[in-house]
């Protein structure tokens, strides 16, 4: 690999890469992110390689395997540059046609185009698709431009020029000031001003300091960090390099979830490439700045997303949080001043350095600048990763980008912020994606998970789901979290199983309030949010569960029974075959019945029935 010793070397290399690419008349960009790989993109990639070889196109057509493009629901995805033709749900069998028709003859394979579910029209290019059109993809757009395992691709789009500018045109103080002026706030959940964190760490006494990238994305229903680290690892490294230089650190750590094997692999390759190019190590780009990065895999504990627990884990210990009377910017990893930022926060840094803080701060709302990546999932048509300007109303995200409900059941709520966040009802969908406004409404942006729920989602069950999760993930160190969450779960379980009493609602609120004031770490302090927000907006659902012993959404097993509707049942026998408990009786072409004594209400028969004949009472 070419050693890059100066800023000039970097510029020359970039020009050479671009020059070498002039020979390509087309580029096949295929998404190789975890989502598309799950949809068997690997087979499509192999087939493309074979076809390009067979047609002798290796010198004139470039194949680029990239990280996540965001529209996972439609995967495997292929974009053909330079016209940005967009093909979705591509299978290996489609590849021959793509090469012979589109690449060799400029013809479009219509059946692979995206069909707009609203108008029914076929859409040719990515930018015309409503899912992409309504976004502002500042960070995510690069995912399509780079192969995460190619440092050349990153350099080709101007990568590491922000680092060059920082090292040779700015002082560390002015870098910190620039971040402060940009008003960038931490993307991991807390929303703490990044510049302030850097300034405190820079001023903290001590020669040895650390920077950490928190890639322990533990919120269920959120995968923004996975996609950025997996799809554009050099962007995160460049952000860390700039941060390390600004605060005076020479060692960095990336703490990444082991459940993200592709992200672990790609960041390892990126670090190796950066070392071989001289962008990590001693005297970076000919300056006096030295910096290296170590990668550590998380052990699968949600609490390790909390900064002090993460640092304990990096030290090889049990991931228990510590009181924050002295901040980690002063007393962090190995008791040294440490700046910890989330993946997306680091990913925002290079652009701020390159384009200036004012360009960053020009986007967004009053207290929340820039853009935010959100994982839009749940009961909607277009699920995937979206990036929007801060301040965008929730309704634009759910209905314009997400395309609204994915079946006939109307959208009821959106859950934001994972286990620390809350559920907002559809009446609150005018609220903008803004740190402060969502907090005031009883939820939070958190790391960016946005799970849409419809009428078939029971909000009491959602509260129970999060409490079960939090009870399981609580490290057990402090009493309020260890005992408080368990007691709340017991009460909510009583309610979902028909033993609830109205006065327990007040007790839930009291416990939640105590928990938020007394728990040791962020996990415990926010653990009551899913309960408190559902009580605030969906109190009547709790009351119906308690007073009428009914679950309006038909979810809580103890409060429902299944029956077969004789009108619509075709007596096909599918439910009888599927029932693992032999609770369904009836001969073929004869009325079927459910034996309530044997039925454990697992719901499998209902999911198998093709005629919606299994009804909930």
């Amino acid at each position: 690999m070419t050693k890059i010793n100066t800023v000039n070397d970097l510029e020359n290399l970039r020009n050479k890469i671009l020059e070498d690419r002039e020979k390509f008349r087309a580029t096949l960009v295929i998404c190789g992110g975890t989502g598309c790989q799950a949809s068997r993109a690997g087979g499509v990639i192999d087939e493309i390689k074979k076809e390009l070889d067979n047609h002798g196109l290796n010198e004139s057509v470039c194949l680029r395997t990239t990280g996540c493009h965001g529209f996972c629901e439609q995967g495997p995805l292929i974009v053909i540059e330079p016209d940005n033709l967009f093909y979705c749900h591509v299978t290996p069998d489609d590849v021959h046609e793509i090469i012979t028709k589109t690449i060799l003859n400029n013809e479009i394979v219509e059946r692979l185009l995206y069909t707009d579910p609203v108008s029914g029209n076929l859409i040719k290019t990515e930018s015309e698709i409503p899912f992409y059109k309504a976004q502002d993809r500042q960070i995510l757009t690069q995912n399509r431009q780079v192969d995460p395992c190619s440092i050349e691709d990153y350099i080709a789009i101007g990568g590491y020029t922000a680092l060059g500018k920082t090292l040779f045109e700015m002082s560390p103080e002015s870098v910190v000031q620039e971040i402060m002026d940009s008003e960038l706030r931490g993307r991991g959940g807390g929303g703490f001003p990044t510049g302030l964190k850097w300034a405190e760490c820079r001023e903290a006494p001590g020669d040895e300091k650390y920077v950490i990238c928190n890639a322990d994305e533990g919120d269920p229903g959120a995968y923004m960090d996975r996609c950025v680290l997996e799809g554009n690892p050099h962007l995160v490294l460049e952000g860390m390099l700039i941060g390390a230089w600004a605060i005076g650190a020479s060692q960095g750590h990336i703490y990444v979830r082991n459940e993200y094997p592709l992200a672990v692999d790609n960041i390892r390759v990126a670090v190796q490439q950066a070392r071989e190019s001289g962008l990590l190590g001693d005297g970076i780009l000919g300056s006096k700045f030295s910096f290296d990065v170590e990668i550590s895999r998380g052990g699968g504990a949600f609490v390790c997303g909390e900064s002090t627990a993460l640092m304990a884990s990096l030290e090889g210990k049990v991931g228990e949080p510590k009181p924050k009377d002295v901040h980690t910017v002063i007393d962090g990893l190995w008791h040294k001043p440490t700046t910890l930022n989330n993946v997306e926060t680091w990913a925002n840094v290079p652009a701020i350095m390159k384009n200036g803080s004012s360009a960053f701060a020009a986007k967004g709302s009053k207290g929340s600048k820039g853009t935010k990546i959100l994982a839009l999932t749940g009961c909607i048509k277009n699920t995937g990763l979206v990036e929007v300007e801060m301040g965008t109303p929730i309704k634009n995200i759910v209905f314009d980008i997400g395309g609204g409900a994915n079946n006939e059941k109307p959208v009821k709520a959106v859950q934001t912020g994972g286990p620390s966040g809350g559920c907002l009802p559809v009446e609150k969908f005018d609220l903008p994606v803004d740190f402060d406004e969502l907090y005031d409404a009883g939820s939070m942006i958190g790391s960016g998970g946005m799970v849409v729920m419809d009428e078939e989602t029971c909000m009491v069950d959602v509260a129970k789901y999060f409490l079960t999760f939090l009870q399981d993930e609580s490290c057990g160190k402090c009493v309020p979290c260890r005992i408080g969450v368990s007691r709340m779960l017991e009460i909510v379980t009583d309610i979902t199983e028909g033993r609830g009493k109205l006065e327990q609602i007040n007790l839930l609120e009291e416990l939640g309030d105590t928990l938020s004031h007394t728990a040791l770490c962020g996990l415990g302090k926010t653990a009551a949010n899913p309960v408190l927000s559902t009580l605030r907006y969906f109190r009547e659902e709790y009351e119906i569960h308690i007073e009428e012993k009914k679950c309006p959404a038909g979810v809580c097993q103890e409060l429902i029974t299944y029956a077969i509707d004789p009108e619509s049942c075709t007596f096909c026998g599918l439910c009888k075959k599927a029932c693992p408990h032999n609770a369904i009786t009836g001969e073929k072409k004869q009325a079927h019945e459910i034996d309530l004594g044997l039925c454990i209400k697992c719901g499998i028969c209902r999911s198998e029935c093709k005629f919606e004949s299994i009804i909930i009472n």
């Binding site: 090889g316 839009l376 998970g449 999911s607």
Partner: protein, 199 residues
Amino acid sequence: MHIVYMQYMCIFIVFTLPTMHFNIHHVNIKYFNITEEAHMQNTNLDSILESRRSQPHQLIEVLQDIQEQHGYISEETMATVSEELGVPLMDVYSVASFYKSFSLKPRGKNVITICTGTACHVRGAKLIVNQANAQLDVAPGETTDDGQFTIEHVNCVGACALAPVVTENGSYHHHMDSGKLRKLIKSLESKDTEENSND
């Protein structure tokens, strides 16, 4: 409060560690030779520990590699790690039992991991857990008596847009439902029967 809690943990570990029982004899180990396996594990352990000896902070990384290569972390392995890294055995056990990534029992030949993240939950992950439970008669975290299947759940695999998601021996299956899981388990069962009959 914390000290009291730690003391309790110490007592618990001192009393339980010597009697930790891994049930290895209950597992049908037809598909591997135990002597060969033990030899292979020792060689692997050496290479995992290389360049990390006497570095206590490498504990989690070492355990990750052991889990990946051996499928679980045995009592003997913990003792070796304790000695080689210079970490008290109690702390090794404490870390190995705290983090979800580590299994202290051997896992089945096929590991089926059901994602129970929020996006999967609202799209019916519970049904999939129910199906696995009913079909194999094991709850998440358990292994079938014949050692063929382990069912696990994970908080989120980050493929939320394709929910519900199941991973089977590391490969992803998206938009799962009870019927698809039933077929997947059946196909793995028949594959195993075929392999065994060819032995």
